[in-house]
Amino acid sequence: MHLLVIDLWFILGKATLIACIIGLSFFVAMYTTLAERKVAGWLQDRHGPNRAGPFGIFQPLADGGKLFFKEEIIPLASNKFLFLLGPGLAMVTSLVTSTVIPWAAPVTTATGTFPVQVADVDMGILIVFSVVSVGVYGIMIGGWASNNKFSLIAAIRGASQMVSYELPMGLALIAVIFMTGSLKMSEIVSHQAEHGINFLYQPLGFIIFFICALAECNRTPFDLPEAENELNFGYHQEYSSMKLGFYLFAEYINMFVSAAVMATLYFGGYDIPFVNEASWGLESWIMSAISFGILMIKIAVILFVFIWIRWTIPRFRYDQLMNLGWKKLIPLALINMIISAAVMLWLKK
């Protein structure tokens, strides 16, 4: 009689993978903050932070340390529990998104094949969507619990922005999904390895998806929830110390994950585009390591474009933001979807 039937090795393996991915997310997010400041400097003919360690590589640690030692202020009239829950929720949702991303080619050993992916579920990309849609609560709860009118307005502004831009994002994605015929991330990648990257077939879809990703991550030109200079500091106005750090950090993790999602959906994920690397005949773990590096390079390029856009384009006004989302992007995404569907039907005949 077994009291508990659990595949211990399976759970242990997945737990290790999850720990690695969370560590990776934190690490990349940390250095994205540095890259942000560095690139901002370069684009403005400055050097960027370069005092903490060579080329400023310890700057993120210094920033984190500073945030830790800041005074922790919880407003007296705030809702204490929800005030604490908000940043935690924002952090958790941003970390959970990375579960379905295939990080590298599967490793084959004598005992079997191990996909470098936490969960290769049938729903795949929809999981990302569900978690992103839940991510609104971190903002809303934080803004409401601060008991500050401006925070509340900013939170509602942010939440309605995120809800609005989920729609064109999903519509742009549908074209990719019916080209692949599956929602599974691993199949989307393998389809692209066979037929070429999706970006070649769906350039408009990618642009729509990218714009929506900017809005979902609250990045410029859509950073209205935290428009520091004209609309207060946004929903985290009352936050200080590491709770503020959580909000800011969650944003960078969101950036990282959305870059990973875009790289997977439109640029072939861990696959090297236009190269048949299976013919090299390398060991599977070496192949896996190389493919991981390839995915990271793609992510880095997308992150650079994120930052580059931030230091180029000023913020949209709120009505412009809503007009762009509802009146331009949704019709465009619908047209893109219909055209791709028609072309696919025509090709199949």
Partner: protein, 168 residues
């Protein structure tokens, strides 16, 4: 009797679902009620996943937890409901509510008492009808007419919303 990890999850999710549903009804603060309702949705989505109805689980989260409850929160947060602005509740209203709820409970118990469901074991982690491909095939072949009619219903709701919005 073997206790599998699925049994543990089932018990856990059931307890969470019932507890958060109770908390949703009993909590004084409407914002808390909404949050407990979201927790309930998550527990129910977990049950769907145990039944391998993945699409239903995800759509439950995207649509209910991610969109509809956000709108609920919008309204509640902007109305600034608290103890001072709470309307005085009539005692008769409370009694009537309790009676109506009790009747519903009675009907549910009566309906489920004789149903064959209790002998059937839920097909946990098997059966592929909940996967998106099979579900899509079913929807667009066997149930295509009700499916399309429901989409017309949605369209009419959208048109109605636009008309109301344009009125001013």
């Amino acid at each position: 009797m073997n206790i599998t990890i699925i049994d543990i999850l089932w018990w856990f999710l059931s307890v969470v679902a019932i507890f958060s549903a109770l908390m949703m009804v009993t909590s004084k603060n409407p914002v808390y009620s909404v949050l407990w309702l979201i927790a309930t949705f998550f527990a129910i989505s977990g049950h769907y996943i145990l039944l391998n109805a993945q699409f239903l689980a995800i759509v439950n989260i995207i649509v209910y937890a991610g969109a509809i409850m956000v709108l609920f929160l919008f309204v509640i947060m902007l109305m600034n409901l608290n103890k001072e602005t709470e309307p005085q509740k009539n005692r008769w209203l409370k009694i009537a509510g309790a009676l109506a709820g009790g009747c519903l409970m009675l009907i549910l118990v009566a309906a489920l008492k004789d149903a064959a469901a209790k002998e059937q074991v839920a097909s946990v982690n098997q059966g592929n009808i909940g996967l998106i491909k099979n579900l899509g095939k079913e929807l667009f072949t066997t149930y295509v007419v009700p499916f399309e009619i429901s989409s017309v219903l949605f369209l009419s709701a959208m048109v109605g919303a636009v008309v109301i919005g344009k009125k001013e």
